[in-house]
Protein backbone atom coordinates (compact mmCIF):
# COMPACT_ATOMS: atom_id res chain seq x y z
CA UNK A 1 0.00 0.00 0.00
CA UNK A 2 1.31 3.45 -0.87
CA UNK A 3 1.35 6.32 1.60
CA UNK A 4 -1.00 8.42 -0.53
CA UNK A 5 -3.54 5.57 -0.49
CA UNK A 6 -3.35 5.37 3.29
CA UNK A 7 -3.89 9.12 3.61
CA UNK A 8 -6.84 9.14 1.22
CA UNK A 9 -8.51 6.01 2.57
CA UNK A 10 -11.48 6.33 4.94
CA UNK A 11 -10.32 5.63 8.49
CA UNK A 12 -12.12 3.17 10.74
CA UNK A 13 -11.82 2.40 14.45
CA UNK A 14 -9.84 5.55 15.22
CA UNK A 15 -8.67 5.29 18.82
CA UNK A 16 -8.86 8.06 21.36
CA UNK A 17 -5.77 10.24 21.70
CA UNK A 18 -4.40 10.06 25.24
CA UNK A 19 -1.56 12.47 25.92
CA UNK A 20 1.44 11.75 28.07
CA UNK A 21 4.87 13.10 28.87
CA UNK A 22 6.23 9.82 30.23
CA UNK A 23 8.48 7.53 28.24
CA UNK A 24 6.20 5.30 26.15
CA UNK A 25 6.08 1.59 26.85
CA UNK A 26 7.18 -0.64 24.03
CA UNK A 27 3.68 -1.92 23.32
CA UNK A 28 2.44 1.62 22.61
CA UNK A 29 4.50 1.98 19.45
CA UNK A 30 6.64 -1.13 18.96
CA UNK A 31 9.56 -0.33 16.72
CA UNK A 32 12.36 -2.82 16.48
CA UNK A 33 15.79 -1.32 16.78
CA UNK A 34 19.14 -2.46 18.07
CA UNK A 35 18.47 -1.64 21.69
CA UNK A 36 15.17 -3.41 22.05
CA UNK A 37 12.36 -1.61 20.36
CA UNK A 38 11.21 1.58 22.00
CA UNK A 39 10.22 4.67 20.12
CA UNK A 40 12.90 7.27 20.95
CA UNK A 41 11.09 9.98 22.87
CA UNK A 42 11.81 11.68 26.18
CA UNK A 43 10.03 13.64 28.89
CA UNK A 44 10.69 16.90 27.07
CA UNK A 45 8.02 15.82 24.58
CA UNK A 46 4.30 15.40 24.91
CA UNK A 47 3.04 12.56 22.81
CA UNK A 48 0.02 10.53 21.89
CA UNK A 49 -0.52 7.51 19.67
CA UNK A 50 -3.65 7.30 17.56
CA UNK A 51 -4.43 3.98 15.92
CA UNK A 52 -6.81 3.36 13.06
CA UNK A 53 -7.67 0.96 10.30
CA UNK A 54 -7.52 1.87 6.65
CA UNK A 55 -7.89 -0.37 3.62
CA UNK A 56 -7.15 -3.76 5.14
CA UNK A 57 -4.36 -2.71 7.48
CA UNK A 58 -3.91 -1.36 10.98
CA UNK A 59 -1.89 1.83 11.47
CA UNK A 60 -0.20 3.63 14.35
CA UNK A 61 0.44 7.34 14.36
CA UNK A 62 2.82 8.85 16.91
CA UNK A 63 2.19 12.56 17.42
CA UNK A 64 4.74 14.39 19.56
CA UNK A 65 5.75 17.96 20.27
CA UNK A 66 8.56 19.45 22.32
CA UNK A 67 7.31 21.32 25.37
CA UNK A 68 9.87 24.12 25.25
CA UNK A 69 10.91 24.74 21.66
CA UNK A 70 9.09 24.63 18.31
CA UNK A 71 9.77 21.02 17.33
CA UNK A 72 7.11 18.56 16.22
CA UNK A 73 7.08 15.06 14.80
CA UNK A 74 4.51 12.61 13.54
CA UNK A 75 5.42 9.07 12.57
CA UNK A 76 2.90 6.94 10.70
CA UNK A 77 3.50 3.21 10.55
CA UNK A 78 1.70 0.06 9.58
CA UNK A 79 1.31 -2.31 12.51
CA UNK A 80 2.74 -5.76 11.90
CA UNK A 81 2.62 -8.11 14.87
CA UNK A 82 5.03 -6.65 17.44
CA UNK A 83 6.63 -4.16 15.11
CA UNK A 84 5.88 -1.22 12.84
CA UNK A 85 6.71 -0.44 9.24
CA UNK A 86 7.33 3.29 9.16
CA UNK A 87 5.76 4.90 6.10
CA UNK A 88 6.42 8.56 6.80
CA UNK A 89 7.86 11.00 9.30
CA UNK A 90 6.40 14.51 9.30
CA UNK A 91 8.49 17.12 11.06
CA UNK A 92 8.84 20.71 12.01
CA UNK A 93 11.97 21.98 13.74
CA UNK A 94 13.03 25.58 14.14
CA UNK A 95 16.64 24.36 14.35
CA UNK A 96 16.57 23.03 10.79
CA UNK A 97 17.48 25.07 7.78
CA UNK A 98 15.33 25.80 5.90
CA UNK A 99 12.71 25.34 8.58
CA UNK A 100 9.14 24.45 7.89
CA UNK A 101 6.87 21.42 7.70
CA UNK A 102 8.47 18.61 5.75
CA UNK A 103 8.26 14.84 5.41
CA UNK A 104 10.73 11.98 5.15
CA UNK A 105 9.37 9.00 3.25
CA UNK A 106 10.54 6.06 1.18
CA UNK A 107 7.78 6.56 -1.44
CA UNK A 108 7.48 2.77 -1.73
CA UNK A 109 4.81 0.20 -1.27
CA UNK A 110 4.65 -0.59 2.43
CA UNK A 111 5.35 -4.24 1.64
CA UNK A 112 8.86 -3.27 0.54
CA UNK A 113 9.65 -1.42 3.75
CA UNK A 114 11.57 -3.18 6.51
CA UNK A 115 9.90 -3.18 9.89
CA UNK A 116 11.52 -1.13 12.60
CA UNK A 117 13.70 1.92 12.78
CA UNK A 118 14.66 3.23 9.37
CA UNK A 119 17.60 5.38 8.50
CA UNK A 120 17.69 8.26 6.03
CA UNK A 121 19.21 5.95 3.40
CA UNK A 122 16.85 5.94 0.43
CA UNK A 123 14.36 8.27 2.08
CA UNK A 124 13.12 11.30 0.24
CA UNK A 125 12.76 14.59 2.03
CA UNK A 126 9.83 16.63 0.72
CA UNK A 127 10.37 19.53 0.17
CA UNK A 128 14.08 18.89 -0.49
CA UNK A 129 16.45 20.48 2.03
CA UNK A 130 17.51 23.17 -0.44
CA UNK A 131 13.97 24.09 -1.49
CA UNK A 132 11.69 26.75 -0.10
CA UNK A 133 9.18 25.42 2.42
CA UNK A 134 5.71 26.73 1.74
CA UNK A 135 4.57 26.29 5.34
CA UNK A 136 7.07 27.75 7.76
CA UNK A 137 4.72 28.89 10.56
CA UNK A 138 4.60 26.53 13.53
CA UNK A 139 1.12 27.41 14.75
CA UNK A 140 -1.23 29.61 12.80
CA UNK A 141 -2.14 31.63 15.88
CA UNK A 142 1.48 32.12 16.91
CA UNK A 143 0.70 30.52 20.28
CA UNK A 144 2.68 27.69 21.80
CA UNK A 145 1.78 24.18 20.72
CA UNK A 146 -0.74 22.28 22.82
CA UNK A 147 -2.46 18.89 22.73
CA UNK A 148 -5.53 20.09 20.84
CA UNK A 149 -3.52 21.89 18.19
CA UNK A 150 -1.18 18.92 17.79
CA UNK A 151 -4.08 16.55 17.27
CA UNK A 152 -5.73 18.92 14.81
CA UNK A 153 -2.51 19.10 12.81
CA UNK A 154 -2.28 15.30 12.72
CA UNK A 155 -5.94 14.89 11.79
CA UNK A 156 -5.53 17.33 8.92
CA UNK A 157 -2.39 15.67 7.58
CA UNK A 158 -3.71 12.14 7.79
CA UNK A 159 -7.43 12.85 7.35
CA UNK A 160 -9.12 11.26 10.33
CA UNK A 161 -11.75 12.28 12.83
CA UNK A 162 -10.64 12.19 16.43
CA UNK A 163 -11.39 12.14 20.11
CA UNK A 164 -9.02 13.09 22.87
CA UNK A 165 -8.56 12.83 26.61
CA UNK A 166 -6.36 15.23 28.52
CA UNK A 167 -4.53 14.13 31.59
CA UNK A 168 -2.02 16.00 33.63
CA UNK A 169 1.14 13.92 33.63
Amino acid sequence: MLLKDVIRAPKRKVTEAVWSQEKPQRRVFPLSCKSGGCFPITRKWRWSVVEFEAESSHFRLMIAYHVEVPAFQMVLGEAIKNDTRVLVRVEYDVAHNPFGWHVHTLCEDSLLISAGMIKPLGQRRIPAAGSKHSRSEYTLSGDSMNDIMALEIAAKWFRFGYQTTFRIS
Binding site: T42, R43, V69, A95
Partner: protein, 265 residues
Protein backbone atom coordinates in the same frame (compact mmCIF):
# COMPACT_ATOMS: atom_id res chain seq x y z
CA UNK B 1 38.30 39.26 0.41
CA UNK B 2 41.06 38.09 2.71
CA UNK B 3 41.73 34.44 3.42
CA UNK B 4 40.36 34.92 6.92
CA UNK B 5 37.15 36.43 5.56
CA UNK B 6 36.78 33.61 3.03
CA UNK B 7 37.25 30.97 5.70
CA UNK B 8 34.83 32.76 8.03
CA UNK B 9 32.29 32.95 5.22
CA UNK B 10 32.69 29.24 4.48
CA UNK B 11 32.19 28.37 8.14
CA UNK B 12 29.05 30.46 8.44
CA UNK B 13 27.51 29.95 5.00
CA UNK B 14 25.05 27.30 6.11
CA UNK B 15 24.55 28.31 9.71
CA UNK B 16 21.07 29.72 10.23
CA UNK B 17 19.60 31.25 13.34
CA UNK B 18 15.82 31.28 13.54
CA UNK B 19 14.14 33.24 16.31
CA UNK B 20 11.14 31.92 18.23
CA UNK B 21 9.37 33.18 21.31
CA UNK B 22 11.80 32.37 24.12
CA UNK B 23 14.93 31.72 22.13
CA UNK B 24 16.63 30.81 18.87
CA UNK B 25 16.94 27.67 16.80
CA UNK B 26 20.37 27.19 15.27
CA UNK B 27 20.83 25.01 12.20
CA UNK B 28 24.39 23.82 11.50
CA UNK B 29 25.93 22.78 8.15
CA UNK B 30 26.36 19.21 9.40
CA UNK B 31 23.87 16.42 8.72
CA UNK B 32 22.56 14.08 11.37
CA UNK B 33 23.32 10.56 10.12
CA UNK B 34 20.27 9.10 11.87
CA UNK B 35 17.61 11.57 10.77
CA UNK B 36 19.03 13.01 7.55
CA UNK B 37 18.28 16.55 8.73
CA UNK B 38 20.84 19.18 9.73
CA UNK B 39 22.20 18.94 13.25
CA UNK B 40 20.53 21.73 15.18
CA UNK B 41 20.19 23.10 18.69
CA UNK B 42 18.43 25.84 20.61
CA UNK B 43 19.52 28.84 22.62
CA UNK B 44 16.83 29.42 25.25
CA UNK B 45 16.53 32.51 27.42
CA UNK B 46 17.32 34.85 28.96
CA UNK B 47 16.34 33.11 32.18
CA UNK B 48 16.84 34.18 35.77
CA UNK B 49 20.09 36.06 36.20
CA UNK B 50 20.09 37.03 32.50
CA UNK B 51 21.56 33.69 31.60
CA UNK B 52 20.87 31.46 28.63
CA UNK B 53 20.76 27.72 28.17
CA UNK B 54 21.88 25.86 25.06
CA UNK B 55 19.96 22.61 24.56
CA UNK B 56 19.36 19.82 22.06
CA UNK B 57 15.90 18.49 21.17
CA UNK B 58 16.26 15.95 24.00
CA UNK B 59 16.41 13.17 21.44
CA UNK B 60 20.14 12.99 20.65
CA UNK B 61 20.88 10.42 23.34
CA UNK B 62 17.51 8.64 22.96
CA UNK B 63 18.16 8.18 19.24
CA UNK B 64 21.66 6.88 19.58
CA UNK B 65 20.63 4.56 22.39
CA UNK B 66 17.83 3.14 20.24
CA UNK B 67 20.42 2.64 17.52
CA UNK B 68 22.46 0.38 19.76
CA UNK B 69 24.86 2.82 21.46
CA UNK B 70 23.33 2.41 24.91
CA UNK B 71 24.94 4.16 27.85
CA UNK B 72 24.83 1.07 30.05
CA UNK B 73 28.18 -0.01 28.58
CA UNK B 74 30.84 1.22 31.00
CA UNK B 75 33.38 2.30 28.39
CA UNK B 76 30.78 4.14 26.31
CA UNK B 77 29.45 5.89 29.39
CA UNK B 78 32.99 6.95 30.29
CA UNK B 79 33.55 8.31 26.77
CA UNK B 80 30.20 10.09 26.91
CA UNK B 81 31.05 11.74 30.23
CA UNK B 82 34.46 12.74 28.93
CA UNK B 83 33.00 14.39 25.82
CA UNK B 84 30.45 16.22 27.99
CA UNK B 85 33.13 17.52 30.33
CA UNK B 86 35.37 18.72 27.49
CA UNK B 87 32.61 21.03 26.26
CA UNK B 88 31.06 21.92 29.61
CA UNK B 89 27.90 20.04 28.77
CA UNK B 90 25.46 18.21 31.01
CA UNK B 91 22.99 15.40 30.46
CA UNK B 92 19.73 15.14 32.39
CA UNK B 93 18.71 11.49 32.56
CA UNK B 94 15.17 12.40 33.61
CA UNK B 95 14.42 14.63 30.65
CA UNK B 96 16.91 13.18 28.16
CA UNK B 97 18.22 16.66 27.45
CA UNK B 98 21.78 17.67 26.65
CA UNK B 99 22.63 21.21 27.70
CA UNK B 100 25.22 23.82 28.38
CA UNK B 101 23.54 25.72 31.20
CA UNK B 102 24.18 29.19 32.67
CA UNK B 103 25.56 30.86 29.56
CA UNK B 104 26.12 34.60 29.73
CA UNK B 105 25.00 36.63 26.73
CA UNK B 106 28.62 37.49 25.98
CA UNK B 107 29.49 33.77 25.89
CA UNK B 108 26.74 32.56 23.58
CA UNK B 109 28.80 32.42 20.37
CA UNK B 110 31.67 30.49 21.98
CA UNK B 111 29.36 28.12 23.83
CA UNK B 112 27.26 27.57 20.72
CA UNK B 113 30.39 26.36 18.92
CA UNK B 114 31.16 24.09 21.87
CA UNK B 115 27.66 22.65 21.78
CA UNK B 116 27.90 21.99 18.04
CA UNK B 117 31.23 20.23 18.60
CA UNK B 118 29.64 18.21 21.40
CA UNK B 119 26.81 17.03 19.13
CA UNK B 120 29.28 16.11 16.39
CA UNK B 121 31.47 14.14 18.80
CA UNK B 122 28.41 12.25 20.07
CA UNK B 123 27.40 11.45 16.51
CA UNK B 124 30.87 10.00 15.90
CA UNK B 125 30.41 7.80 18.96
CA UNK B 126 27.18 6.43 17.50
CA UNK B 127 28.64 5.77 14.10
CA UNK B 128 31.60 3.93 15.55
CA UNK B 129 29.17 1.67 17.39
CA UNK B 130 27.19 1.03 14.21
CA UNK B 131 30.35 0.19 12.30
CA UNK B 132 31.44 -2.18 15.04
CA UNK B 133 28.03 -3.91 15.01
CA UNK B 134 28.13 -4.23 11.24
CA UNK B 135 31.65 -5.58 11.33
CA UNK B 136 30.84 -8.01 14.13
CA UNK B 137 28.43 -9.92 11.85
CA UNK B 138 30.87 -9.93 8.91
CA UNK B 139 33.78 -10.84 11.21
CA UNK B 140 31.89 -13.72 12.80
CA UNK B 141 30.98 -15.16 9.41
CA UNK B 142 34.53 -14.66 8.10
CA UNK B 143 35.98 -16.50 11.11
CA UNK B 144 33.66 -19.47 10.62
CA UNK B 145 34.44 -19.67 6.92
CA UNK B 146 38.18 -19.35 7.45
CA UNK B 147 38.11 -22.12 10.05
CA UNK B 148 36.50 -24.61 7.66
CA UNK B 149 38.65 -27.62 6.93
CA UNK B 150 37.27 -28.88 3.65
CA UNK B 151 39.54 -30.31 0.98
CA UNK B 152 39.56 -28.26 -2.21
CA UNK B 153 37.48 -25.43 -0.76
CA UNK B 154 38.65 -21.83 -1.20
CA UNK B 155 37.06 -18.77 0.38
CA UNK B 156 37.77 -15.27 -0.93
CA UNK B 157 36.39 -11.96 0.34
CA UNK B 158 35.65 -8.85 -1.72
CA UNK B 159 36.31 -10.36 -5.15
CA UNK B 160 33.94 -10.64 -8.14
CA UNK B 161 32.52 -14.05 -8.78
CA UNK B 162 33.12 -13.62 -12.51
CA UNK B 163 36.43 -11.84 -13.21
CA UNK B 164 34.97 -9.92 -16.16
CA UNK B 165 31.95 -8.64 -14.22
CA UNK B 166 32.70 -6.31 -11.35
CA UNK B 167 29.29 -4.67 -11.20
CA UNK B 168 28.20 -6.55 -8.09
CA UNK B 169 30.79 -7.91 -5.68
CA UNK B 170 29.54 -10.42 -3.12
CA UNK B 171 30.92 -10.51 0.40
CA UNK B 172 32.47 -13.93 -0.13
CA UNK B 173 33.09 -16.25 -3.05
CA UNK B 174 33.44 -19.96 -2.31
CA UNK B 175 34.89 -22.37 -4.87
CA UNK B 176 35.41 -26.11 -4.68
CA UNK B 177 37.88 -28.01 -6.81
CA UNK B 178 36.08 -30.02 -9.45
CA UNK B 179 32.96 -27.82 -9.26
CA UNK B 180 32.36 -25.38 -12.09
CA UNK B 181 29.64 -23.62 -10.10
CA UNK B 182 31.10 -21.08 -7.67
CA UNK B 183 29.09 -19.75 -4.76
CA UNK B 184 28.51 -16.04 -4.20
CA UNK B 185 27.59 -15.24 -0.61
CA UNK B 186 25.92 -11.97 0.42
CA UNK B 187 25.63 -10.98 4.06
CA UNK B 188 22.39 -9.06 4.48
CA UNK B 189 21.13 -6.78 7.21
CA UNK B 190 18.80 -4.83 4.92
CA UNK B 191 17.13 -4.87 1.50
CA UNK B 192 20.17 -3.62 -0.38
CA UNK B 193 22.08 -6.91 -0.30
CA UNK B 194 18.95 -8.83 -1.25
CA UNK B 195 18.61 -6.63 -4.32
CA UNK B 196 22.31 -7.10 -5.15
CA UNK B 197 22.00 -10.87 -4.89
CA UNK B 198 18.98 -10.97 -7.22
CA UNK B 199 20.71 -8.61 -9.64
CA UNK B 200 23.78 -10.84 -9.78
CA UNK B 201 21.57 -13.89 -10.38
CA UNK B 202 19.91 -12.18 -13.35
CA UNK B 203 23.28 -11.06 -14.71
CA UNK B 204 24.61 -14.61 -14.44
CA UNK B 205 21.53 -16.12 -16.10
CA UNK B 206 21.00 -13.69 -18.96
CA UNK B 207 24.26 -11.85 -19.67
CA UNK B 208 27.18 -13.97 -18.53
CA UNK B 209 25.30 -17.25 -18.87
CA UNK B 210 27.47 -19.16 -16.44
CA UNK B 211 26.40 -21.27 -13.49
CA UNK B 212 26.61 -19.74 -10.03
CA UNK B 213 25.00 -20.49 -6.69
CA UNK B 214 23.88 -17.29 -5.02
CA UNK B 215 23.14 -17.40 -1.33
CA UNK B 216 22.05 -14.63 1.02
CA UNK B 217 22.89 -15.03 4.68
CA UNK B 218 20.54 -12.89 6.75
CA UNK B 219 21.94 -11.61 10.02
CA UNK B 220 18.60 -12.51 11.60
CA UNK B 221 15.24 -13.76 10.42
CA UNK B 222 13.83 -10.26 10.15
CA UNK B 223 16.72 -8.59 8.29
CA UNK B 224 15.26 -6.80 5.28
CA UNK B 225 11.58 -6.62 4.35
CA UNK B 226 9.47 -9.78 4.28
CA UNK B 227 8.49 -9.08 0.68
CA UNK B 228 12.14 -8.77 -0.32
CA UNK B 229 13.10 -11.96 1.46
CA UNK B 230 10.25 -13.76 -0.33
CA UNK B 231 11.34 -12.39 -3.69
CA UNK B 232 14.95 -13.42 -3.09
CA UNK B 233 13.97 -16.91 -1.90
CA UNK B 234 12.17 -17.47 -5.20
CA UNK B 235 15.03 -16.21 -7.35
CA UNK B 236 18.34 -17.29 -5.85
CA UNK B 237 19.73 -20.60 -4.60
CA UNK B 238 19.07 -20.03 -0.90
CA UNK B 239 18.27 -17.51 1.81
CA UNK B 240 19.62 -18.58 5.18
CA UNK B 241 19.57 -17.19 8.73
CA UNK B 242 22.67 -16.60 10.83
CA UNK B 243 21.72 -15.57 14.36
CA UNK B 244 21.17 -18.45 16.73
CA UNK B 245 21.83 -21.21 14.19
CA UNK B 246 25.27 -20.40 12.82
CA UNK B 247 26.51 -23.96 12.24
CA UNK B 248 23.40 -24.97 10.32
CA UNK B 249 23.61 -21.79 8.25
CA UNK B 250 27.20 -22.58 7.23
CA UNK B 251 26.22 -26.14 6.30
CA UNK B 252 23.26 -24.88 4.27
CA UNK B 253 25.64 -22.65 2.32
CA UNK B 254 28.15 -25.46 1.77
CA UNK B 255 25.42 -27.79 0.55
CA UNK B 256 25.03 -25.53 -2.50
CA UNK B 257 28.52 -26.50 -3.62
CA UNK B 258 28.03 -30.11 -2.67
CA UNK B 259 30.06 -30.19 0.52
CA UNK B 260 28.77 -32.82 2.91
CA UNK B 261 27.65 -31.67 6.36
CA UNK B 262 30.54 -30.93 8.68
CA UNK B 263 30.96 -29.91 12.28
CA UNK B 264 31.33 -26.12 12.36
CA UNK B 265 33.43 -24.68 15.20
Amino acid sequence: MSLQQRICKAFCAEVRVNAFRGGFGVSTPFADALTGDPIGFYVVGPQLGHKYKIIDDALTVARFESDGATLDAKQRMANFQEVLSIYGGSYDEESGELAIPDVLESEIERKALDFMALLLRLQDMTQQTQERTKNAFADDVAKKLEALEVDGLSVEAGVPVFPDNKEVIPDFVLRKTGQDRPLALFLARDNEKLWQAMHLQMTADYEIQKPVAIVVLLESGNSGAQKMRDKAANRIAAVTNWKGDEGAAINRILREIEVKPIHVH
